[in-house]
Symmetry: C2
Subunit: 410 residues, 2 copies
């Protein structure tokens, strides 16, 4: 997928973060919700920003999502985001909603923002109330900065069972102005987004209207965050927010702009990069699995099959064990709900073709084992039904996934 980077003039910024775009600051502190890890983070823009957001499709949307939706509905502008980890503030009734509003108010007061310019996000255990004393102190201690360490403080504060920080940054030149897109994300378990993923925060200095940004985010989310799965479980708190503060001083971007695709691509690559980082860091994972499905009738079919394969516990355990058990891939295609011609399917792992026109191919088991021992596995399926392609990302299923999840709360 990264090939598009070369076709367009979108450049990856190594070590770039959410504060690389002009006019954004970040912070993260240890408020004490967790034993020692940072647990409250914030992003602030120097001026109100256009914004876009996508949310979990769960019926049980957590309290912070209600507050964030209300904030955005007011003017479709955001200037700050306050996030806590350790407690999801989900299934917490009226008190939970009150607490989420209080987080918004405290943060707005601290940084002298309009409350409806503030988004709230939480992640962690469901069904427990926030310790508001700790949240209050945490917010008071936030000291936003625009350097690498400030970004890392934020990136750390939003993590739960994640083992690494997730960040990505891309830039492109439009109308002679350098436009930068930066992102941070968290997510490791309960990852099977239907609409957005766990928590994703994207900043950009592009000038763009909120409505246009929202359209772009929705389209990109379907190709990136919605195409990853760790365990098939969708959270109550998933949310992706983009803020665009316009400080790059380009003419406002719309799809009719001749360089629109560059912006779209920079935003997409940022989201895809974060999505893959989340998949690779799936709970207990040792490998990133990418599934390419080609030759489908529709893009939806291709994406659906790709996600079904990468979500199969049997495929995931086979990859963990470096066992080239392609029958499980066929199994997953078979129950994806998409009609395919069962007599005309190719399956490959890496460069090794295992099934051609649904006929098993002789292949070198040792070479396959060696391939499957790598840290990034690509499975390719050709359906010969049409011209549409799709891709999905996931990870292997390991002993450590079970270990982590058998005792998450304790």
């Amino acid at each position: 997928m990264i090939k598009t980077e070369e076709k367009t003039t979108v450049k990856k910024i190594e070590n770039g973060t959410i504060v690389t775009p002009k006019g954004f600051l970040a912070a993260g502190v240890h408020a004490g919700l967790r034993y020692e890890k940072k647990d409250v983070g914030a992003i602030v823009s120097v001026q109100p920003s256009s914004c876009a957001a996508v949310y979990t499709q769960s019926s049980f949307q957590a309290a912070p999502l209600h507050v964030t939706k209300e904030s955005i509905a007011a003017e479709q502008k955001l200037q700050g985001i306050i996030v806590n980890s350790a407690c999801a503030n989900a299934c917490t009734g009226e008190q939970g909603l009150k607490d989420a509003y209080e987080m918004r108010t405290l943060f707005a007061e601290k940084f002298q923002l309009e409350p409806h310019y503030v988004a709230v996000a939480s992640t962690g255990v469901i069904g427990e109330l926030l310790n508001m004393d700790k949240i209050r102190k945490g917010i008071q201690n936030l000291k936003p900065g625009n350097d690498q360490s400030a970004a890392e403080e934020f990136q750390t504060a939003i993590l739960t069972t994640d083992t690494v920080m997730k960040t990505a940054c891309y830039e492109t030149v439009i109308d002679g102005k350098t436009i930068t897109v930066g992102g941070a994300a968290k997510g490791s378990g309960m990852i099977h987004p239907n609409m957005a993923t766990m928590l994703g925060f994207v900043t950009t200095d592009a000038a763009i209207d909120s409505n246009v940004l929202q359209e772009a985010l929705r389209s990109i989310t379907n190709k990136t965050f919605n195409q990853i799965t760790v365990d098939g479980d969708t959270s109550t708190n998933d949310m992706v927010i983009v803020m665009a503060n316009g400080m790059a001083e380009n003419a406002p971007l719309t799809p009719s702009h001749p360089q629109w695709f560059q912006f779209y691509e920079a935003l997409k690559l940022t989201c895809e990069d974060l999505a893959k980082q989340i998949a690779r860091d799936g709970e207990g994972a040792t490998k990133l699995i990418e599934v390419q499905v080609n030759g489908a009738k529709t893009k939806e079919d291709a994406n659906k099959i790709a996600k079904q394969i990468v979500g199969s516990n049997l495929v995931k355990t086979a990859v963990y064990g470096a066992d080239a058990n392609w029958g499980r891939i066929i199994g997953a295609i078979g129950y994806s709900g998409v009609e395919v011609n069962p007599d005309k399917v190719d399956v490959s792992m890496g460069e090794i073709n295992m099934l051609k026109n649904s006929q098993p191919q002789a292949f070198d088991e040792e070479a396959a084992k060696t391939y499957l021992q790598q840290s990034q596995i690509v499975i390719t399926v050709q359906l010969y039904e049409g011209k549409e392609n799709g891709v999905a990302w996931g990870c292997d299923l390991t002993y450590d996934y079970v270990k982590i999840n058998a005792s998450y709360r304790t």
Copy 2:
């Protein structure tokens, strides 16, 4: 669910098997497809029987399913079933189909049956051809009997990663005649039936027309085999077959018979019993999980939510770890695709209420832990949306599931 047994006059026969109904024989031999376990089994009726069957909804239905469908289509009668384990004969192209037909012919010749009275079933690795030399010898060595040991030989021959045999038997008296229903099944991984489950074989001496039997089986499958899940993966080979040879000499049963419900219940209890045995013996499982969903708008909604909860990797690992993490149950309800009122849900584990009207309840964590350490866990959800109920069964997700599946072929 077993309470219905008392309301009706359906009796469980302890140690009953597929040969308990009159006129059925069984056999199992070691043909050498596996290193030492029996791997070819057969059921024979002394006379042609009415029959019914349900099959996997996978697009990649294995060769034996094609042959079995063709057999049944001819006259809707069966007299024998030949089964092998170790090799699924799926994704094996024309040679695979030829082999499945040959299994049918060899078996028909050996027992002097019409070929179209023979069903064929296979289970095991996908994408490998049957070793027909071994199958031929195995069929020649079959010596059907109608005692416990003959039934156990069959029950063993059909297993793959299963750790125990699955059998069930119920009887009822209709029109003064004792009618017996016996069943055997296999299934441990790749269990998430859409239509039938792994392999299930049910015998009965009831007199009943094939069409009526088919309707009953379809209805019962939706409430039993289709409501279990081990790992969310649906096989290419799932099949449930019922043979009814009429030797009980009752007047043919139809839904308008005053005692129809007794037969339906005996068949349902046999299927439910087998389904629960499969769930309990899920790969690596240590616990049977039953999820009851009450107060749904429709039966479909209730079943869908129940299956979503019992299929959640996060719920399964929490049960394994005896962690009363009810938030994951809420998570699963939330993404089930069924609209529920998020402010009015109760969740209990055993007798311990954890959520009431979506408000977390204080409960004794130690008591919950003790409850979750039992070998059978019941999770109950009340939605207050309507009057329909549903139930699903599954198992916990453990280190051993990963271990078994990381190296199945090797």
